[in-house]
Amino acid sequence: MFRLRLLAATAAMALATGIAGAQELVIGADVDAGTLDPRLARDTTAYRSVNLIYSGLVHLTSDLEPVPDLAESWESPDPKTLVFTLREGLTFSDGSALTAEDVVFTFETILNPDFSAPQRGLFTPIESVEAVDERTVRFNLASPYAPLLSYLDMGIVPSDYDGDLSTDPVGAGPMVLSNWSRGSEIVFSASDSYWAGAPAVKEVTLRIVGDNAARAQAFEAGDLDVIQSPLSPGDIKRLAADESFNSNLAAGLGVTYLNMNTSKPLLADPAMRRAFAMLVDQSTIVNAIYEGVDEVANSIILPSSWAYDASITQPTFDPEGAKAAFAELGWSDSDGDGVLDREGQKLSITLSTHSEDPNRIQAVEFLQATMQQAGIDAQVQISDWPSFSTGYVQKGEHEIALLGWLNIVDPDRLTYNQLTTGAGLNWGGYSNAEVDKLLEEGRTALDQDARTQAYQKAAAIIATEVPYYIISYQGYHLFYKKDMPADVTANPRGTFRGMIGMPG
């Protein structure tokens, strides 16, 4: 008797959840959001979460095209000015009106050094922001700044909110925060105040599973409806081949690269860096270690970018050529111990990476073996991310470090702050006046052809001088169950709007 009741109860529950389930989505994430304030976001989950809760002036499509979001149109009366017209009747999720004041407030706080916005560096060319009237915002730039439009999907925050946006966000996006169980899950529900209407999916649960293998297993077991990069290559291959899931494998917006510290005497000469670069077997690393889920790179410009040029080439894998190059620079094995030396000094180098990514560890181990074979005394140093990045690479103490960059929506993002002389992210101390000039041009020219020219020329120089050796272009891999509540538009930034029935 009891068992019958139990069965009936379970069946009823299943039916109920089944019905509700049609409009719910469970997405797997690898890290918890650090904050839900778009101005302070710096991890991928935070970006994607604030992308649901807030809206920006523009929205970037999967082709990285800015299309109107909160702003219905914009114009540039002169190269140093950008004027946006907001839509009519915009409101935040708490009912308050969204006006130009809020836009001004958002960017003024970002630009304020004491606010410590992680992405302030992307907005520094902005001199001031002003509200011309309730629906018009004007950006005054210190110099023309072409990439700005692609950064203006920054979520707009209310200017008169006394709560803490990091934990109680109020935005004008398609969804609102429903519940946040730290380290465990974030639940969003559809907002009824989004200007384009409510999304098809009524509830999104973001479940945090740090371990990539565990996340893939949870997806296969049906506990998650959607998962995306980062995933282990083995899981990617297996899931892609599995007919019971849908997948979208595309070019991503990240790179895996070697950061060569040009301030170290051994690596100061571009010829040395080129010689080392000739020992990087990109093909094996990408196809064996990464199992082909990424692409071999040829330059610092991504294939997803309008500036891409397939004809630019970095040094390719050539052990003989490397040996000859080292010999030319005076390195030979004079004492027969298998290690190249010059004036009594052994050719030693330290390869480093961080411990959280097993593919990078394998890549470094593989590089070490290749270099060892070529007669270089190569050592490996592995530490966890904070040690590696903040305590080592960012202090310019590394020699050759393997790491990556993400979110490269514009070529400027991977070049200006990293490779111009004295720039904040130029940890390897690279300096080339010609490159400085070209990158400045690329940033300030407003005509895309002119920008393309500048970036391609800069990329060619960088490919010869190799302060950065780009190993691979990261792929973006999305897997989702067969019966999704809405059509899926994949976006290489991994944002979720395309999964809830909104234009991706």
Binding site: P358, I361, Q362, F366, V380, D384
Partner: protein, 286 residues
């Protein structure tokens, strides 16, 4: 009459079992140690020889235990890995034993506020979650064989301190110790001559069990990326890579996990057996 028969029937086989533990444990342990010591002669391939075409191949004539994710010979790397694991384990255990024994002897013999202080110190180390402490020490000291061993010492010395302290406390009251005191022998002499030799039993048992623990710890550290840097052929790295590939290529994980398990088993059995032989009070305590 019936009593002894009863007792004899009950405990004849267990004693054989106990000795079996000692024998099997000793056999396994010595095999592993021999493999480690003679690794250069027993290895069939160069440790660093990568062969990306033949990754994850199973056991074959050419590769006794197959190849790993880089196509390197698993057998050769495992026996060299035994060297590393055993070296770290032995250093860790010896240092823990020395430090812990000194603390335990002093604490147990002198008592009073020395005891209080030392026991509070022990409590401090015990109150830390061990993984945290190990990670912290390795992070501070940096990578390296001795640093990994040092981090293990930090979490294991307290065991020895406690055990030695309790044996010291009980031995302190023994007649011959009292006699030596009465004769005016210095505390250090008493400690070294009378008390320490009688504590060696439990210390040896702890040490043998501690070897197994140290090996598991070392593999956990490598698993988290904090152990010896590659390309060191530690068991931890093999297991770490193995578990990453566990879905599609489980062999590497199975064989490295098994290596660790068998070795730890061997040392545990040895410890058990030694416990019965050296410390009759603990004969049946398992």
């Amino acid at each position: 009459m019936a009593d002894t028969k009863l007792r004899a029937r009950r405990f004849r086989l267990p004693r054989r079992l106990r000795n079996a533990a000692l024998l099997i444990g000793a056999a396994i342990s010595s095999t592993i140690i021999l493999l480690a010591v003679f690794a250069p002669f027993l290895a069939t391939h160069d440790l660093a020889a990568m062969d990306m075409v033949n990754r994850f191949s199973g056991p074959s004539v050419e590769h006794l235990l197959g190849t790993d994710n880089f196509g390197r010979d698993i057998w050769s790397r495992l026996i060299y890995g035994a060297r590393i694991s055993l070296t770290i384990a032995i250093i860790a255990v010896v240092c823990s034993a020395i430090i812990g024994t000194i603390v335990g002897l002093v604490s147990g013999y002198f008592g009073g506020w020395v005891d209080l202080l030392l026991m509070r110190l022990t409590d401090i180390f015990l109150g830390f979650p061990p993984l945290l402490l190990v990670l912290a020490v390795v992070a501070v000291l940096g990578p390296g064989l001795f640093n990994v061993a040092a981090s293990l010492v930090v979490v294991s010395w307290t065991e020895y301190a406690r055990v030695v302290r309790s044996t010291t406390l009980s031995l302190r009251e023994q007649n011959y110790v009292q006699a030596a005191r009465a004769l005016g022998a210095s505390p250090w002499r008493i400690l070294l001559r009378e008390i320490l030799p009688n504590s060696l039993g439990p210390i040896t048992v702890l040490a043998s069990l501690g070897l197994g623990t140290a090996i598991v710890w070392e593999s956990a550290l490598s698993f988290l990326g904090f152990g010896l840097p590659p390309p060191a052929p530690t068991w931890g790295w093999s297991l770490s890579y193995g578990t990453r590939f566990i879905r599609d290529e489980p062999w590497l994980s199975v064989v490295s996990g098994a290596a660790i398990m068998v070795t730890v088993l061997g040392f545990n059995l040895l410890g058990d057996g030694l416990r019965d032989v050296l410390d009759p009070r603990h004969k049946n305590r398992g």
